[in-house]
C-alpha cells in the first residue's frame, strides 16, 4: 500500500492536471495541497447525457482510467464496476458514484477525476442554410451556432428563437440576443418571418 503522504501528493498532481487549460502543468511536488478538481468546464450544473464523452482518471490505476461514452441508456461502462448511471447527473455526482463503486471491494479510497472531453452535439434547424447536427463547443451561443450552420436564410426570424433544452420536453421561445447560449443536446429552431 502506498504511503498516505505519497497518495496526497499524487492526488494534488492529478487535480492540477484536471484543471481546464492546464495540460502542461508539470507533476507536483509531494508537499503541494490537494486541489479539488474543477467540475465540467461549462459549469457545475451541467447534466450528463447520452453522447457525452468523458475522461475518467483513477489515480495510480491506469487499467481503470480512460475515455468513456455515455450510452443511449445513460449508462457508462467501466472496468471492474460495470455500468454506472450517468444520465442526468452532474459531473461531480457521477464522479462520486464512480468513487463509491470502486470503493466497494475494489479499491481503498480511490481518487477519481472525471472531466468531459466532448459534449453532446447540438441540433439546429429551421430557417438555416445548413440545418443539422453540430459539435458543441464550450461557450457556444446561438449566433455561433447559426454561423456554423451557414447563416440565416432570407426568411429567418432573427428576433426570437425556439430552443428545446436537453432533457426538457418542450421548446421555449426566447429572444435572440448575442449572449444567448446553446447547451449540448439542445435543439435550436429558427423560425420563419412573414414580414
Amino acid at each position: 500500500m502506498m504511503g498516505l503522504q505519497g497518495v496526497r501528493a499524487a492526488l494534488a498532481g492529478l487535480a492540477l492536471l484536471a484543471l481546464w487549460g492546464c495540460g502542461s502543468m508539470p507533476a507536483t511536488v509531494a508537499n503541494q495541497p490537494v486541489v479539488e478538481p474543477k467540475p465540467a468546464a461549462i459549469g457545475a450544473a451541467y447534466r450528463l447525457g447520452a453522447g457525452d464523452k468523458l475522461l475518467v482518471n483513477v489515480f495510480n490505476e491506469p487499467e481503470l482510467s480512460g475515455p468513456v461514452v455515455v450510452d443511449g441508456r445513460g449508462m457508462v461502462s467501466l472496468p471492474l464496476v460495470g455500468e454506472v448511471a450517468a444520465q442526468g447527473s452532474t459531473v461531480a455526482d457521477f464522479r462520486a458514484r464512480v468513487r463509491d463503486a470502486l470503493s466497494q471491494g475494489f479499491l481503498n479510497d480511490p481518487q477519481v477525476v472525471v472531466e468531459v472531453m466532448n459534449f453532446r452535439p447540438y441540433y439546429i434547424l429551421g430557417e438555416i442554410e445548413k440545418p443539422g447536427e453540430y459539435a458543441y463547443v464550450e461557450g457556444m451561443t446561438v449566433m455561433n451556432a447559426v454561423a456554423s450552420a451557414g447563416g440565416f436564410t432570407y426568411r429567418a426570424n432573427k428576433r426570437t428563437v425556439f430552443i428545446k433544452r436537453a432533457g426538457e420536453p418542450d421548446e421555449q421561445r426566447v429572444d435572440l440576443t448575442s449572449g444567448l447560449l446553446v447547451g449540448p443536446g439542445d435543439t435550436v429552431r429558427i423560425g420563419e418571418r412573414f414580414f
Partner: protein, 427 residues
C-alpha cells in the same frame, strides 16, 4: 426645325466606339465585372428563379412549354364615358420558350398565342400571337454582340387613346422588329451601341353602323440608334452618358396634319447602382428634342427623365419606382405626336415562399401635340400569386383604371374595373 441625319449618327457612334474602346483603364481579362448588378435579389427575381430548372431538355436546348388560363371580368369593355358595358371573359395563352444551355453564346426563341373570348360582346373576342428569336455572340471576354428579331400580331386595348371611338372592333396590327447591339467592356469602362427598327402595320377596322375606319395612316417605321458609355466608380456604382436618335417615317400623309414624320434625339447622363440590401437601379436625366415635319408643327424640346429604382426595405419586400418622360406617337386624328410623363410604384411582398402579394399604382399624363387635349390616366391594382408545387401557379388580380381627358367631347374620359383569376402551368 432640326433634322437628324441617320448616316451621321451611325458615323458618330462608330467613332465614339473606337475612341472609348481605347480608353477605360486596364484592358484584358477581368475576373469580375464592375457592372454586375446582382447584390440584391428582388421578390420577382426570386419567384422566377423557382422554375429556372424546370424544362424539357432537347440536346443543348431547354424547352419550357407553358399554359395559362384565366377567367376575368371587365366593367367597361368599350372604355366608354357613360352607359358602360360589362362582360366576363375567358383567356387562354399557350407559350413556349426555348433557350440554349451553352457556356458561351446564347440562342433563344419564344412563341405564344393568346385567345380572349368574351361571353356577350363577341366583337371583342380575338387572338394575339407572336414569335421572337434572339441571340448573343460572345466574341471575347469583354465583347459581345446581341441580335434579335420578332413578330407580333396584337390588338389595341379599347382604352388606348389611338383607338377610334367609332370602332366596332378592336384595332389589330402587325409589329415586326429587329435589333442589333454591341457591348464592349474593359476594366471600369463599358460601351454599348444599339440599333433597332420597328415596323407597325395597322389594319383597317370596321366602324359602328357600317363602313371601315382607315388605319393605314398610322402605319410607320421607327428607327432608333443609341449609344451609352459607362464608367464604374466602384463595383456598386457607375456613371454614364448616353445619346439616342429616333426617326419615325410614316407610310402615308395624314390629311389632317400633313406628314407625321419626325426625328428626335435624347442626350442624357445618369447613374447605375446596386447598393447591397438597400437599393439598386438607374436614373438618368437629360435633354430631348423631337422635330416634326408636319406643317406648322413646333419642335418639342425639354427635359428627358428615365428612372427605375428598386428598394429593398426587407428581404421579403421589393418596392419598385419607375418614372419616364419622353415623346411617342399616337393615332389620334389631328395630332402628330404625344409628349408624356409617367410614374409608377409597385410593391411585391413574399408572404410565404410560395405566395406573393403585389400592389401597384401608376400615373400617366399625355399631351397630344397638335390638339388642345391632355389625358391623365391613373391605374391602381393588387394581386396575389400562389405556387402549386414547382410547376403550377394560381393567380388573382384586380386593376382599376381612370382616364380624365380634356377632350371637349367628353368621350375620352372613362373608368374601368378589371378582375382576373387564373392558373398557369409549366410543363
Amino acid at each position: 426645325m432640326v433634322h437628324f441625319n441617320k448616316t451621321a449618327w451611325f458615323v458618330a457612334a462608330l467613332c465614339s466606339a473606337s475612341g472609348l474602346a481605347m480608353w477605360g483603364g486596364e484592358a484584358g481579362a477581368q475576373e469580375q465585372s464592375y457592372f454586375e448588378r446582382d447584390r440584391n435579389i428582388s421578390v420577382e427575381e426570386r419567384w422566377e428563379g423557382r422554375t429556372s430548372d424546370i424544362y424539357l431538355r432537347f440536346g443543348a436546348f431547354a424547352v419550357s412549354p407553358q399554359l395559362e388560363a384565366a377567367a376575368g371580368y371587365d366593367s367597361n369593355v368599350f372604355a366608354q364615358s357613360d352607359n358602360e358595358t360589362s362582360d366576363v371573359l375567358a383567356r387562354l395563352r399557350p407559350r413556349v420558350d426555348v433557350r440554349s444551355l451553352w457556356s458561351r453564346h446564347a440562342l433563344n426563341a419564344s412563341a405564344y398565342v393568346e385567345r380572349e373570348e368574351y361571353a356577350s360582346e363577341d366583337s371583342e373576342s380575338g387572338e394575339e400571337y407572336g414569335a421572337a428569336l434572339s441571340g448573343r455572340l460572345d466574341v471575347s471576354r469583354g465583347l459581345r454582340i446581341e441580335a434579335g428579331a420578332g413578330y407580333d400580331r396584337f390588338r389595341e386595348d379599347r382604352g388606348n387613346i389611338s383607338t377610334p371611338l367609332g370602332a366596332a372592333e378592336r384595332v389589330e396590327a402587325d409589329l415586326v422588329n429587329a435589333s442589333l447591339a454591341g457591348v464592349y467592356e474593359t476594366g471600369r469602362a463599358r460601351l454599348r451601341l444599339a440599333a433597332a427598327v420597328l415596323d407597325f402595320d395597322y389594319d383597317d377596322t370596321p366602324a359602328i353602323g357600317g363602313g371601315v375606319i382607315d388605319q393605314d395612316l398610322r402605319d410607320f417605321q421607327l428607327t432608333e440608334i443609341s449609344g451609352r458609355a459607362e464608367y464604374a466608380l466602384s463595383p456598386a456604382l457607375a456613371a454614364f452618358v448616353g445619346a439616342s436618335g429616333n426617326w419615325r417615317d410614316y407610310d402615308q400623309v395624314d390629311p389632317f396634319v400633313g406628314t407625321r414624320d419626325s426625328q428626335g434625339a435624347v442626350i442624357d447622363a445618369g447613374l447605375n447602382f446596386d447598393i447591397t440590401a438597400v437599393v439598386r437601379g438607374e436614373i438618368a436625366a437629360g435633354l430631348l428634342e423631337q422635330s416634326y415635319d408636319a406643317p406648322g408643327a413646333s419642335d418639342v424640346t425639354g427635359l428627358s427623365l428615365a428612372g427605375l429604382v428598386e428598394w429593398f426595405p426587407t428581404g421579403l419586400t421589393t418596392v419598385r419606382f419607375e418614372a419616364e418622360r419622353g415623346v411617342s406617337d399616337n393615332g389620334v386624328f389631328g395630332s402628330f405626336g404625344t409628349e408624356y410623363d409617367f410614374a409608377a410604384v409597385r410593391v411585391d411582398h413574399e408572404l410565404l415562399r410560395n405566395t406573393i402579394l403585389s400592389a401597384r399604382t401608376s400615373y400617366r399624363q399625355e399631351d397630344l401635340l397638335g390638339l388642345n387635349r391632355e389625358d391623365d390616366r391613373i391605374e391602381a391594382g393588387f394581386g396575389a400569386r400562389y405556387a402549386l408545387g414547382e410547376r403550377g401557379v394560381m393567380f388573382a388580380d384586380y386593376r382599376y383604371a381612370d382616364q380624365d381627358s380634356s377632350d371637349p367631347s367628353g368621350l375620352s374620359s372613362w373608368s374601368d374595373h378589371n378582375g382576373e383569376l387564373g392558373l398557369a402551368w409549366r410543363f
